[in-house]
């Protein structure tokens, strides 16, 4: 099972460390990281394996959202299935 973590907002030092630190703390294995700037939006996208997650996925999502709020960023933690269903027939 995989999830997509997207970080959207203003670039700052230490975003990757912070987010990947939370992933490692709860045993989410980072598979891929990409960064892009689309129109006015900076975005980091992280694909993580959550099959051996040590907490509930919803709890991880809450922690990420809270971390985002503290850093002035929007962090969305979503199941990969959302993107697959929306963009693939």
């Amino acid at each position: 099972m995989r999830a997509v973590i997207t970080v959207v907002g203003k670039d700052a030092v230490g975003i990757l460390t912070k987010v990947s630190g939370i992933c490692s703390e709860y045993n989410a294995n980072v598979i891929e990281v990409t960064q892009s700037v689309l129109q006015d939006m900076f975005a980091m996208i992280m694909l993580v394996d959550i099959s051996k997650l040590s907490i509930e996925f919803g709890a991880l999502s809450d922690i990420m959202t809270k971390t985002g709020d503290e850093m002035g960023l929007k962090i969305h933690t979503m199941h990969e299935s959302v993107f697959n269903c929306m963009h693939h027939i």
């Binding site: 689309l38 999502s61 979503m78 269903c85 929306m86």
Partner: protein, 451 residues
């Protein structure tokens, strides 16, 4: 494989364009709760709703968190109560209280099904239920009511139209202290559907299984935003853009519905392919029509653009989900749509234009505020007009109209939240009383003879 553009497109839809699942609605049959003792029947109703839906809100919230898609409402629809209450006789208001208490206990904000189906006449329990609607809606918070007064197959029950005119006024009068909110929880239908997940008109039809999950999607903001990127597109290209966007929105509805159904161990029914607006900025159906090229919603060209929008939404959504149902189309509730509110305030959007729009959109005259001195017979005539459009065009039409007791054109009713605020709209002053008071049944049209 996922690409960054697709991911960011989804994020943008959720974060900036108000993409959400409007409602997960659990339909529950109450046919096995029928009892000649009203107290026993109400207890059975309460117990069954609790048993079936105790996890609904938690599952909805879990899915919301895991998929990152806001799920605005978790709701319940039940078998039309007139069918359940018929065996008890007497005033069926205790059922409304039982529904309200059950809804509160499981944490849903609205419960629909205080309803009667009288398109061809009144059977046992129907008249008692309809007459109790004003009381039921004033003593409960969460209960929604609907009455079906016509169908393409049966014609229009003009006696029921007349009665509903009076009932709507009573609902408003009994809730004057709450901005006449009672009338906002009451819908009068023609060709009502049995699997509608949207309130206030949801009920669980007798042809439905014991329990079912239906999902209503939303996303006017996403459609408007997609169109805004193509200012030079011709109208065929506009239709294509709407179809593609609708496909994406509906896919999310299908995913959420399937997931909720698995977790609740209840069969998944339908996705209602609707564009349901809210008063929030960027969540308006009127603004889509304006994006297509109208200076203001309600002007000439509104019906044509709405027809295109409604059709393209369905075409895009059809392939995105396994089963479609409910009302499926674009909603045009005046008070719940920032663009419609502005258009109505400016006088561009009138009841006459809204009536024309209802011939090509999914529902009908929805959340329209009329002057407080509007007579019951005039309300009944508005209902009859709208039912005629539904009957002849073999489509669902509805009337949810609120007489603003003590207010005139130029004033408004404000409910806040999803219900929004509605300016009092002018209506014709000439009477239709003689027509309404003739009573009887408008015969079914030729369109009904398809066999």
């Amino acid at each position: 494989m996922l690409n960054a553009y697709d991911i960011l497109e989804t994020i943008r839809m959720i974060q900036d364009e108000c993409l959400d699942i409007r409602t997960i609605t659990m339909g529950i049959s109450l046919l096995d709760c029928i009892d000649s003792d009203i107290n026993k029947a109400c207890q059975k109703v309460y117990d069954k709703i609790i048993e079936k839906s105790k996890n609904l809100v938690k599952v909805g919230s879990d899915i919301e968190k895991e998929f990152g898609i806001p799920i605005i409402n978790k709701r319940i629809s039940v078998t039309p109560i007139s069918i359940v209450s018929a065996a008890c006789g007497g005033n069926p208001v205790p059922f409304a209280k039982a529904l309200d208490e059950a809804a509160e206990a499981v944490g849903v904000n609205l419960i629909g099904g205080y309803s009667a189906l009288v398109q061809k006449g009144f059977s046992a329990g129907d008249l008692e239920l309809i007459k109790s609607i004003p009381e039921a809606l004033s003593v409960t918070e969460r209960v929604c009511s609907s009455v079906n007064v016509g169908s393409t197959k049966a014609g229009i029950n003009l006696d029921a139209c007349g009665l509903m005119g009076r009932i709507i006024r009573e609902c408003a009068e009994k809730t004057v202290d709450r901005a006449c909110f009672g009338a906002a929880k009451l819908v009068v239908f023609c060709n009502a559907v049995e699997d509608n997940p949207f309130m206030a008109g949801a009920f669980h039809g007798v042809g439905e299984p014991d329990c079912m999950i239906n999902v209503g999607v939303s996303g006017p903001g996403v459609v408007r935003s997609a169109l805004s990127k193509y200012p030079e597109a011709n109208i065929s290209e506009i239709a294509d853009i709407i179809k593609k966007t609708s496909y994406k929105i509906t896919r999310i509805g299908q995913l959420v519905g399937v997931t909720a159904s698995e977790r609740l161990k209840v069969p998944f029914g339908i996705v209602d392919l609707s564009l349901a607006p809210t008063p929030a900025v960027g969540d308006s159906v009127a603004h889509i029509l304006e994006e297509i090229g109208l200076e203001r919603c309600g002007t000439h060209g509104t019906t044509a653009t709405l027809a295109l929008l409604n059709d393209a939404v369905k075409k895009g959504g059809v392939m995105a989900c396994s089963r479609i149902g409910g009302l499926s189309g674009a909603f045009i509730p005046v008070s719940e749509d920032a663009g419609m509110i502005d258009a109505a305030k400016s006088g561009t959007l009138t009841i006459e234009k809204l009536e024309a729009m209802t011939a090509v959109c999914s529902v009908g005259l929805d959340m329209i505020v009329v002057p407080g001195d509007t007579t019951a017979d005039t309300l009944a005539a508005i209902i009859a007009d709208e039912a005629a459009i539904g009957m002849v065009n073999s489509k669902t039409t509805a009337v949810r109209i609120i007489p603003a007791i003590g207010k005139k054109v130029g004033e408004e009713l404000d409910w806040g939240g999803l219900f929004g605020c509605g300016p009092v709209m002018p209506i014709k002053e000439e009477s239709a009383s003689k027509f309404i008071n003739r009573g009887g049944q408008i015969p079914a049209p030729m369109q009904s003879l398809k066999n």
